[in-house]
Subunit: 319 residues, 2 copies
């Protein structure tokens, strides 16, 4: 029947989709990433999400052509393993044969890929990047990930290309959650922004961010929490987002000065949640730093939205 599954594995949620031959979504399921069962619990939840999506699509998982997974951490597509996916669960500190386990669970073959790369591939093949041959995907969420397409093909370097979040935008600048200083992600990543918000609140700044978080029954400042605080003109939230947008502008412009791609596609949890107006602001902040400013790259919001990562993962299964 040509149906394929896709899973976007994240630190906050697991998104599964079932897509048809033309990539249309036939079923989908989204569940919070379980935090207390370790990697095993996460894998069980991934299987559950695919089953739920498959039920919606009226297909047995064993009848799928396969299920692709976009995962953070160190992904080895050939071995079917994921190592050190701390962002998913903190105790994912070893190599887990995600592919083998899920192949048995779901009765179909499994494809594995890096989460940011599959999301970039999805935007390139099906989304906002379709008109272009070279592309920088920027995924603005807990961290800031990047995917690169050059001449129509992914550029992986020695395996780690695309770490745009760790380009330096301010030497000797803010401490990043990676331990380094002045990374773009130290200003723009949701995790770093939350740490800074807590620090400033401790020093007496007022903010509704954590009240909104509690009311929404969240344990961290999610994209939705930031969006609501911005809607209420919360001063601290506004200041931190302005700072994030400025760092994104400088970092993305630096990347464009280096590789001169035709287009930039901005997605990720925060990018998707804040949407077009913030993509326009990032584009504006890029302007002063673009070396060839008469011919800026096209800058687009990711077109596949929330489902982009999972749809991209499904592309790992070849027809």
């Amino acid at each position: 029947m040509g149906l394929r599954g896709g899973i976007d594995l994240g630190g906050t949620k697991i998104q599964a989709v079932i897509v048809g031959a033309s990539h249309g979504v036939r079923g989908q399921a989204r569940i919070p990433t379980p935090k207390d069962g370790g990697p095993d619990g996460v894998i069980a939840a991934m299987a559950e999400a695919v089953r739920t999506a498959a039920t919606e699509a009226e297909v047995e998982t064993s009848a799928l052509d396969g299920v692709g997974i976009g995962s953070p951490g160190e992904v080895d597509p050939d071995a079917g393993t994921v190592t050190n996916a701390y962002n998913v669960v903190p105790d994912w500190n070893r190599t887990i044969s995600v592919g083998d386990i899920l192949a048995t669970e779901l009765g179909t073959k499994i494809g594995l890929g890096n989460d940011v790369r599959v999301a970039t591939a999805a935007e390139f093949r099906l989304g906002a990047g379709k008109p272009y041959r070279s592309l920088l995907g920027v995924f603005w969420g807990t961290g800031v990930g990047g995917g690169i397409i050059l001449n129509g093909s992914p550029w992986r370097g020695r395996g780690a290309a695309g770490e745009i979040g760790h380009m330096v935008v301010r030497r000797n600048g803010a401490k990043c959650t990676c331990g380094r200083e002045g990374c773009m992600e130290a200003y723009s990543g949701r995790r770093a922004m939350e740490l800074e918000a807590r620090r400033r609140m401790k020093h007496g700044e007022k903010t509704a961010l954590f009240k909104i978080m509690e009311r929404k029954k969240r344990v961290a400042l999610t994209s939705g929490v930031w969006a609501e605080a911005l809607e209420h003109n919360d001063a601290l939230a506004t200041d931190l987002i302005d700072r994030a947008v400025a760092a994104l502008g400088a970092g993305i412009a630096s990347a464009v000065n280096l590789i001169d791609v035709e287009a930039v596609v901005i997605g990720g949890g925060l990018g998707t949640r804040l949407g077009e107006p913030y993509v326009a602001r990032i584009e504006q902040q890029m302007g002063p730093h673009l070396f060839v400013d008469a011919r800026p790259p096209a800058v687009h919001l990711a077109a596949l939205g929330d489902l982009g990562g999972a749809i991209g993962a499904s592309l790992l299964i070849k027809r």
Copy 2:
């Protein structure tokens, strides 16, 4: 006979070489870039440099397979033109048919290319980049230029890839000679460093830089002037070079985080003049900013030295 010519056109000097089939240098000539004859004077000097090198190689210029030119400014290889090469002479503010003029002058065909790209190609094919398939060339001189080789081929983007000097290393940082703020070149480019040295001297800092410049009968702080001041532990020169090295480290590491090349080759006037010890210092400064720090790229001094640009230009002429 298979002899080819190459010209490295710079703001300080014009370097010409004649090379044999195996790229061995048979003749060479180096003359200061004339500053008072406009583009015409520069082109006449280029022809003169090639003739002198050809005499040394015992060949008529009309017997050469061709002469390649590596030029700054906006180079159109197909049209054989160079536009706005302000770095060469300030009044090079229009499009000049360098190719046609020199073809007539020298009686052979002319190839044109961007100066940084031909120097990168030379290091890739014949120099320190030979063992690698992906490479970042960094040319540290008046400005800081970059050339990119991916999968064995130059990556040009939409025509302007490689502007590593204008990657941002400090948002809202030092004013760059390009007019932007916080560019790597604002800290590392020789022109920006000279402006900063003059500024600090005006504010009372002591330095021997300008005395050395006058003694050497230079009109600007050349790489040799900087090198001599460093040898004498001149405090201002040391401070500005430290700042330059730190900015280069952050900027190059950022570039590696994005494109994850196998190797970095550092050349250019200052890079070549200061040599291995400073390449080692740049490598050290990259360290703290490399995201995959367990597997840094190889970092090499350009192997072709001063002649790299001209030899690279000769590669524009296909056998």
